[in-house]
Symmetry: C2
Subunit: 316 residues, 2 copies
């Protein structure tokens, strides 16, 4: 609409971005697909943009935030589980033995998720996450996790929504975990959050209709699961997608592989001083194949150190 | 917002409804939850309303529209499958032998869905549905199915949206089948359609990223599946739900069982002359347990014959 275009022309929609190729690519894309009469014009209902969460919208080092939540839950539940003192992977969690925990691998992670994420209603789980988020702090920055979202990406979300885009989170993280903060942190409502999930069952308990979270994987929204999750939840192919790791490779392929003006963006963590620097060899957020694909598929690679004036929001 | 309230006060939001208990219940609910200062006030982001599709938003007799589509697809594909002439349930479809087809039951239905709904991309499938919808006609009314939506329900959808509700379809029908017409027929975008689905797989074909529909059930969004589908896709508990059969029982229980001002509505098909009359003994859209529950749970039962001035839209 005219007033939005006029408003955007007067003010920089991405003030935390340095001028450079990445910022120019984002602004040029949004301008091209929203200007009536443009050969690249896309009608508003088809303006779908998807955003990975961990490492794209907020911090993911030294461990995923959701994993930090799970570890704290294990410690909180330990008094009710005296057997955990001698049982892996719980023993490792309680002793802070990260090497043993890492060696427990995916099987260990599934056991921890089952013990900490299941056996309750979705409302109870979301309540727990909200309580935790309000108090837990990042070990290095000593700030709440909600303060460790990326200010430049908040500006991209707002800019795209003001330009008629519907913005979705599409993440390997737990769908209900993210729903606990997505509206507050990103302005993204629960139905626009796509993520991994465990099985939830409906039953009548004490005469009351109840949903109950079971310790069983339902869907893994990562890698090739991302286009599947997008199709299941959104039902439209995105025209823009933002990610930061190999888990986003297929989402960016799916988004940019349909012909027409498309935008694929990778956030490259290059700033060890203000945040972290990692890519091809990182255990968390490995960016290897997708970085190679970015060159051939002409995706935009954001160099955090060079492209972002600020990393985190300045809170009053 | 003020201008919407003012506009609604001046014009009847439900002109195709006769004055009566059903219309009054809907208007009273919407008024109570949207009026600031009301003890029942619900903030806009929590105003979620879910609508079953078949028999609630459009016709479902004498057979589900999606089943009519599948039967037409079998006939269309038959020349490529000469073996179907001697193979049930396809033989029955080709011979119009509905008794044998009915006897093939759920197993037969799954075979027909596998043969007609899988083996293609979602885009191809949606294209097929759109083409079919544009030409197929209802056997009794000789009108396109898109003309056999319920005008009074279109008014409810528009009224609730104008009152700050987000409206979702939650149906046992195929999610992608409904997405082919939900925006055009109901003003409901693809990401606000929840339904049953088959497994979809991501793969690279001839160097192109592709989603492919497999002949395997992924999720059944019916009965106890409806609260699960709502939780997975919407992530909020509805405050209003509309259905017409026992397949909606758990959705209405889930919606109205949380305390606070809630609205559960059942459309009761009572008009054999203008549409159909059926309930406890119908194979399609059986309304039995949910009709009993309506009395104890104080759900609103719409008597189509008495409550609706018109059934279908008058098209120019
Ligand atoms: Ca990530
Ligand atoms: Ca129905």
């Amino acid at each position: 609409s005219v007033w939005i275009s006029a408003a955007l022309a007067q003010t920089d929609p991405l003030p935390s971005w340095n001028d450079g190729a990445a910022k120019q690519a984002i602004v040029a894309f949004v301008t091209d697909v929203t200007r009536e009469g443009s050969p690249d014009f896309v009608p508003a209902p088809d303006r779908v943009a998807t955003f990975d969460n961990d490492g794209t919208l907020w911090i993911e080092q030294p461990i995923y935030v959701q994993f930090a939540f799970a570890l704290d839950r294990v410690k909180e539940l330990a008094p009710q589980h005296p057997e955990w003192k001698d049982k892996q992977p719980f023993k490792a969690v309680l002793e802070g033995d990260m090497a043993t925990l890492a060696a427990a691998g995916e099987h260990g992670a599934v056991e921890i998720v089952a013990a900490t994420h299941a056996g309750m209603t979705p409302e109870q789980f979301i309540g727990m996450v909200k309580t935790w988020i309000a108090s837990a702090k990042h070990p290095r920055f000593d700030r709440h996790y909600e303060d460790l979202v990326y200010q430049p990406m908040l500006e991209v979300l707002a800019y795209m929504r003001a330009s008629g885009f519907k913005t979705f989170i599409v993440s390997g993280g737990g769908i209900e975990f993210m729903r606990a903060f997505a509206q507050k942190s990103y302005g993204i409502p629960p139905d626009q959050v796509v993520g991994s999930s465990i099985v939830t069952k409906f039953e009548t308990r004490d005469g009351k209709p109840t949903l109950f979270r079971l310790p069983q994987v339902n869907f893994v929204d990562d890698g090739p699961g991302k286009p599947v999750g997008i199709n299941q939840h959104i039902g439209l192919r995105p025209i823009a997608a933002f990610g930061n790791s190999d888990g986003d490779l297929q989402m960016l392929q799916w988004t940019t592989g349909s012909g027409g003006r498309r935008l694929g963006v990778l956030v490259h963590h290059t700033d060890a001083e203000r945040e972290y620097a990692y890519d091809r060899n990182s255990k968390v957020g490995r960016l290897d194949k997708a970085l190679d694909a970015a060159a051939t598929d002409r995706w935009t690679v954001v160099d955090m150190k060079r492209d972002w004036k600020t990393i985190f929001p300045v809170r009053p």
